[in-house]
Symmetry: C2
Subunit: 191 residues, 2 copies
């Protein structure tokens, strides 16, 4: 007898939504538009309202998109950020996106990452984080973000991980609100 | 063109090391012995010195083992705890190990979970955490545990997640020390 396996895999619809891999997204707003679009599309496909993607920071090349796959695949770990990190590391064949010779990689997330995803960032080698909706935007309509270190921004900076917030914040939050308005399941942690 | 996939899968050696799935580990020390054994064996197979497993808390039935697969599979996310959580949720076909009708599930970890893994626990539905080596044991020999909320134990308790520490702590720490003494790679987060 063996244990099961679990495969992280983008669903087919993502391929019709995003452009060819390695497309260029020049501005931070273009990158955020893509991940907010992913978050909105994921709702249409029985998923949670969260999208993310990893880009080469300087060139704007799309490396790997991610969507929340928790409900569709029975796995609480596969938040959008985690999916993007896993796929990006497979693409570059390295568990450290800051390995020598690599360009800087940027994680763009439609909502500020939860406690788990924040914890995953220093291990991933990502050097820059961009957020749309804020932690408090998600919490205000019932999502659980977990317990983060109060000074996580300072901790990130001390590890040379920079953070940009509030990019298309209103648009990102509108997708969260739409999900709630349509009766989407808000699965929270143990209470 | 498509994006890569990534499969979480226990290596073959795990099957010869652990007993048949659903074996019973009656005491907390027996459970910890298993995960410390996994951590030690993983060193022999080019992996990091960390093991974990999920058990049915009352019966002691082994649900899913986990080992750190970061270096072997180019994926910074697959700490031992994350692997155990993913496999357990596949086995029970639910992203919430606290779903109605389920027994209580317990995560046993050879070393206190890092910031990412702590963040993953409230989402997983695990109701009890058991740790061997402490956070400061890991840090004292160079491992990076990340930035945790200072009051994470209280936060866990407020979510009805209980924690037991220092089970076979000395034995668990000896495996970490052995790894360092043998020149094992200590990959840390961005500094």
């Amino acid at each position: 007898m063996t244990y099961p396996t679990y495969t992280v895999q983008l669903p087919e619809w993502v391929y019709s939504f995003i452009p060819e891999p390695k497309s260029i997204f020049s501005t931070i707003e273009e990158r955020m538009e893509l991940v907010i679009g992913l978050s909105a599309q994921n709702i249409r496909h029985e998923g949670g309202p969260f999208g993310a993607a990893i880009f080469e920071r300087q060139s704007g090349k799309l490396i790997a998109p991610g969507i929340n796959l928790v409900m569709q695949t029975n796995c609480s770990v596969v938040h959008a950020e985690i999916v993007a990190i896993i796929l990006a590391q497979q693409l570059v064949a390295n568990f450290d996106l800051s390995a020598p010779g690599f360009p800087e990689y940027e994680l763009v997330s439609s909502t500020e990452p939860c406690a788990m995803c924040l914890g995953s960032i220093p291990w991933s080698g990502i050097s820059h984080l961009v957020c749309g909706a804020r932690d408090e935007d998600a919490r205000s309509i019932g999502f659980d973000e977990g317990e983060k270190p109060p000074k996580w921004l300072e901790y990130f900076n001390s590890r040379s991980i920079t953070v940009t917030r509030d990019i298309l914040r209103t648009k990102a939050m509108a997708v969260l609100q739409q999900y709630v308005d349509e009766g989407g399941i808000i699965y929270n942690g143990r209470q």
